[in-house]
Amino acid sequence: MPASVRLDRVSKRYRAGRSRTFVDLIGSRIDSVRGQSRDVQSASRGRVDSTIWALRDVDLEVAQGAALGIIGRNGAGKTTLLKLISRVTWPTSGTVRVAGHVVSLIELGAGFHPELTGRENVYLGAGLFGLRRREIDRCFDDIVQFADVERLIDTPMKRYSSGLYARLGFSVAIFSRPDVVLVDEVLAVGDAAFRRRALEALRRLIGEGKTVLFISHDMWNVRRLCDQIVWMEDGRVRAQGPAGEVAERYLNEVNLAALENRATALQSHRGGTGEVRYTDVDLVDDVGRPTSMIEPGDSLVVRAGYRAEHPVPNPVFRIAIVDVDTGLVVSTATSKAAALPDRIDGGGLVECRFPRLPLRPRQYVLRLSIADQHDLGSYDVVTAGPRFAVRGGGRGVDGLADEDDGLVSLPFEFAHRAAAVSVNPR
């Protein structure tokens, strides 16, 4: 396949800090006369030119019809990369070359005017993406239908909700017959149904041989859409390769970094009356060693110390595992296990063991609470307890299903029977 986007040794430098005023310029003169031009204070006053390299020596080639995911932390240079490709900005050095018509979805509906109706804005927005009036006439109905805004199309857009606004923006962009589509985290807006349709639309464009560059922090979406991933770090390409492989490496590193600063986990986000409090929560493996990174299928023990201010009858200890992105995975409670004395007083220890935890590689956080015997009030609530991560390596849990998507690995069995009679086509 011929290349659709090519970057050769591209660097981009921005000036950091606020822009300099005339007063700053005079100030820097005074500072340099007094020999202070390099101290921190004059830099923060804007008296010294400080620059940031958003991109450094980036080489990149994207084949026509490819879908490339771009991942990395905030400030890694992902958006700068797209801005260079869309020609919104120019490289400080190196060359950026693109084949065909580029449409950037860096911000949806950026060209819309709130005083104009949806209909007028479709013409305005599509015009901004290079579509002629006659062409818009032809695909106008498709645009409106895809965005699902038929009812409001002749209403000024200032009356639209932000989700609707973004939907029409996305719709206009993908019908603008692009050769290269740049998507920057825009699928974070809109409801789940629209997100799914948007992903489908992008996949259809890829199927038609269009090139898609896709920035997202949602590894799930990136992996569903893209076959290749570029991992940006500090303005350079850290890694590039098959989507699954690079995404796993990235997630492992992000998870590890997040786990390193969990010391203050119990201090924040506390609720409840405080009559009973968790004093410390530890994650250990089967032999009692502290752990925060486990393999899929490993066992995990949550060891939670508590302290009661006065005797409390039949408290309910809850320990839940929450997926950072999607929510509750599993919730456990002592009332069902019945392993507790009728009343507690002073300090103690509760242990919850998850044998052979069949979780997919992701990052998880523990949510803990202590409720009263009727489950009407809480003595303690820890919404963000210690975190742990399940390492990705593609090994999976022995004997359990392990598809790429989803939160858990479960046993399952397929069966198949040939139909005895022809299927009723109703």
Binding site: P2, A3, S86, A99, G100, H113, G127, L131
Partner: protein, 272 residues
Amino acid sequence: MSVALANPGVLTDRAERLGAPAYFELLMNLTRREVRGRYSQSLFGIGWAIAQPLATMAVFTLVFSRLGQIPSGGVPYPIFAYAALVPWFFFSNSVSSGTLSLVTYRNIVTKTYFPREIVPLAQVCSRLIDFSAAAALYTVLMAYYGIALGRWAAMAPLFFVLLVLFTVAVTMTTSAVNVFYRDVNPVVQIALQLWLYLTPVAYPLSAVPARFRLLFVVNPLTAIVEGFRASIVFNRPPDWSLVSISSAIILVLFIAAFTMFKYMDKYFADVI
């Protein structure tokens, strides 16, 4: 099909990927957006475009003609002033809103590519609507005062072209520099106020003392305003030497402004 410059099979580093017709349509779209945005939710609508020169004409008539005894060359002073106020307000309003245009449109300037000159040009184009409305009222005024157009009125399009070229040159310069230094805007607003009185709008050029003449000759608006008056009010030939000097100045300014704009526009998105 749109006229695409960029072939999907060929890598290129040029920014313009569509043909001129598509960008012209974009200019028209942004102009429409500008006009609609300005007059939507207003009862009087486009009427405001007429009110501005009309009200100023009334004040000028009182101050300069009645109190100041400024000569108007044998025609009613209101006509004399109005014929100059219409091109003046076209220039002044274009430059005034045009200076801020790139910053106002930073949303699209930082998010998508298109030739950046379209933004200030759309401001100038949107003021053409105001210009036409105000010019239409001029014909009403002429009928009221019983003045007819003569054959020299055929020269008016020349001054119109000079006016538009000069306005575009100034607007592109101020809008581009304003991206880097926001000081440009207040400077422009003050300059426009003074400029009105340093241009023979309220008075004829003939009333200017000889020692100030040079100041008026290098101001292209002098030739434009005096030219409009000569052709449609007095029905006589313009001052050709003044017109040629101004045309030369406008041409040089226009080329310089465009060149500078295209050099600076690569940095707009970074500093805006």
